[in-house]
């Protein structure tokens, strides 16, 4: 059973939707990099054989009863990890864009302490690897928007390659955006005065499929995330932990 065996245990979390073509290799790469660390794939009701391929590659699979979207899938994994007692969870995408070689660096940064979340960034230390023009423009827009809100510059706010410690795990188990969660999650953390850093990680082109954010959806994405950011600012409750 997928249970932490020692203090400071790590769970690798892979949300997946129709990633049968790439999920097997992602799981194997994670296994090669992190050895015995448990890997949990959250299958968000894929129509293909994602769950089967992931199991054959050596991952545990938690299948959602119906499609919840990225945020709902990730939060389900966070809830399970928190309830089982994991101290660290590192989320990596199932399409192969995130190089699992970055996992040890993210884990080391989390274990070093002082931060509740570590973002694997395609820009911090690199020159903007493997991203479309539209996404690059979006990233720059949100980077500028978030700078005064977060009080720090986040080079890659849309990165889904993130590691969280137990305090952030507890927070995200209760509050996590359902759609397009990456940017809103930063604001949720900031409102609780949790700290986060970016470390450079290599990104690769996706191995298969297409991004769920099409040109038309990108407008909806921007409006949705903008609204989510400001709603989270308005939701702010209680004094800040950090002075």
């Amino acid at each position: 059973m997928i249970r932490p065996v020692e203090p400071g245990s790590l769970l690798i979390l892979i949300p997946a939707l129709n990633e049968a073509a790439s999920i097997g290799q992602v799981v194997q790469e994670c296994r090669a990099v992190m050895g015995a660390a448990p890997i949990l794939v959250i299958d968000d009701c894929s129509r293909d054989s994602t769950a089967l391929v992931a199991r054959r590659a050596g991952a545990e699979v938690m299948r959602l009863p119906h499609h919840l979207g990225l945020g709902g899938a990730v939060q389900a994994g966070y809830k399970l990890a928190f309830e089982l007692g994991y101290d660290y969870v590192i989320r990596i995408d199932g399409d192969g864009q995130h190089d699992p070689a970055g996992i040890p660096k993210i884990l080391a940064a989390l274990r070093q302490g002082g931060v509740e979340m570590v973002i694997g960034s395609r820009f911090s230390g690199h020159a903007g690897e493997h991203t479309s023009l539209a996404r690059a423009i979006g990233i720059r827009f949100f980077r500028l928007l978030l700078w005064p809100i977060l009080g720090q510059k986040v080079h890659d706010p849309t990165s889904g390659f993130v590691g969280v410690g137990r305090p952030a795990l507890a927070l995200f188990s209760n509050t996590f955006p359902l759609e397009y969660p990456e940017i809103e999650a930063l604001v949720v953390l900031q409102r609780k005065a949790f700290r986060f850093i970016e470390i450079p990680c290599r990104m690769r082109p996706r191995r298969s499929g297409r991004s769920s954010i099409t040109t038309l959806k990108s407008f909806y994405y921007i409006i949705h995330v903008l609204l989510g950011v400001f709603v989270n600012i308005l939701k702010y409750e209680g004094p800040r932990r950090r002075s």
Binding site: M1, I42, M62, R63, L64, L68, G72, Q75, A76
Partner: protein, 118 residues
Amino acid sequence: MDRLLNLMTGFSILLIATVLASLRRAHIRVEYSVSWLGAGVLLLALSQWHGLLDHMADFLGVSYPPAVLLFVILGIGFLVFYRFSMILSALKDSNVALAQRVAILEFELRSMDRQPHE
């Protein structure tokens, strides 16, 4: 004007009757019928109580009182739809939490099944 108000009276009675029939057959829950019943009663009162409609038209500076009735219908519609948006949002939150809980429990059950019996 009278024809429009009579039409509105008929519509109000039809709305109230439909909601009551739906309640009787359990097609709608009591808590969600209140908005529609309230709207039906208000429209019925306004369509029958001409004095109130005239007062409202004077207050709003509208020269044609039935226009106030349309304004009220629009307002009620917005309020009811907004209330339903709130209910839908709460239902979605509950649904997501429930789906996540089902997934976690199912996952733990499967994990226990795979463990060797001691």
